[in-house]
Chain length 189, copies 2
C-alpha cells in the first residue's frame, strides 16, 4: 500500500474528505500516481483504523455531509518513517512497449494507428502538464520539488514524442525498402 503514504502526504498538507482527496490527487500527483475513487475511501478508512488519521463529520446544508480527515501525530510519524525508508523501484510496466514488441504480427496500417494513437495520448498528456500555471517565484523547497515532478513529466513526454517520430520514420523507411525488393511477391494479408 503506497497509496497510503501518498494520502498521508496529502493530508499533511491539509485535511480533506474522500471526495476532495480524490480530486486533489487527480490534480496534483495525478501524472505519476493515480487512485481509484473506491481505493481512496478504503485507504482513508484504513488510516483511521490504524490511528494515522482522524475523521470528523461535517454537516452541510446544501450538500451531503462529508467526513473530513486529518492526519494525526502518529500519521505524521509514519509519513516521516516512509520518507526515510529505502525506496524500492518496482519494475516499469509499459503496455505500449509490450504491444510494440510483438507488433510485427500486425498489419502496417495497424502499426501506424498504434503510433498515431500513442502520439496523440502523449501529446495530450504533455499539453496538460504544460498548461499547469506555476507560481512566478517558487520560494519554498516543497514548491520547487513539486514543480520538478512536473518538469519530469514534460521532459519524458517530449523525449517520447521525439522517439515516436524517429522510430516510425525508421520503420517506414524499412517498409518502402521492403516494397522495392519484394515487388514480385504477393501482398501480405
Amino acid at each position: 500500500m503506497s497509496l497510503k503514504h501518498a494520502v498521508l502526504g496529502m493530508l499533511a498538507i491539509q485535511p480533506m474528505s474522500g471526495y476532495t482527496l480524490k480530486k486533489a490527487i487527480d490534480e496534483s500527483v495525478g501524472h505519476f500516481w493515480t487512485a481509484d475513487q473506491s481505493q481512496v475511501y478504503r485507504t482513508l478508512a484504513g488510516l483511521v483504523d490504524d490511528g494515522l488519521a482522524s475523521r470528523r463529520t461535517v454537516v452541510q446544508d446544501e450538500r451531503p455531509n462529508l467526513h473530513l480527515h486529518s492526519i494525526t501525530d502518529e500519521g505524521l510519524a509514519e509519513l516521516d518513517r516512509w520518507l526515510a525508508s529505502p525506496l524500492r523501484t518496482p519494475p516499469a510496466r509499459e503496455p505500449f512497449l509490450a504491444r510494440l514488441f510483438f507488433a510485427d504480427r500486425m498489419a502496417p496500417e495497424a502499426i501506424r494507428d498504434l503510433f498515431r494513437n500513442r502520439r496523440r495520448e502523449v501529446g495530450e498528456a504533455l499539453a496538460a502538464l504544460e498548461a499547469v500555471t506555476v507560481p512566478e517565484h517558487a520560494e519554498d523547497t516543497g514548491t520547487l520539488l513539486r514543480l520538478a515532478t512536473l518538469d519530469y513529466g514534460i521532459a519524458q513526454a517530449r523525449t517520447e514524442l521525439a522517439w515516436l517520430d524517429a522510430t516510425e520514420q525508421r520503420i517506414g523507411k524499412k517498409r518502402i525498402h521492403e516494397k522495392h525488393t519484394d515487388e514480385h511477391r504477393p501482398e501480405a494479408p
Copy 2:
C-alpha cells in the same frame, strides 16, 4: 492479465518451458515488463487450461524433466485479437516522484541521498540497455521494433539523468540562498 499476452507473444516466437520463458522474459522484455517466476508458471497453466497453449513433457536424462509449451492456433488468434484491441494505458506509477513530491519534510542530506541513489539506479539501467549487443543489419520489422523498445529505454534514461542534474542543482542553489538569508536562524534538526 497482460502477462498472458506477453507470454503468448513469446510462445509465438518459439516454444518454451516455464523456466526458459522466465529467463527469456528477463532478457528481452525485462526492461519494460517483468514477471515473477510463480506468475510465469501460473500464466502458462492458465493458457493451457484455456486451450491457448499446449504442453508436452520432455524427458531429460541429465536434468529434471520440463514442460515444453507451444502456442496453439487458438492462442495465435487470441494474440492477434489482443494486438488489434484498443490499447489502454494504465496511469504511470512513479514511486520516486511520489517520494520527491513530499520530500520537503526530509532533511537536506536525505534529499541528496534520494537523488544520488536514483542517479545510480538509472545509470545502471542505462548501462544495461546500452550493453545489449545489437545485430549489425536489422532486417525484419520485428527486430526493428524490438530495437526500438531498447531505444525508448535509453532515451528515457538519458532524459531522466539530465533532469536529475538540473533539478538537484536548482534545489541546491535554493538551499545556498536559504543559508545566506537564514544565517541568523538556528540549524534545522
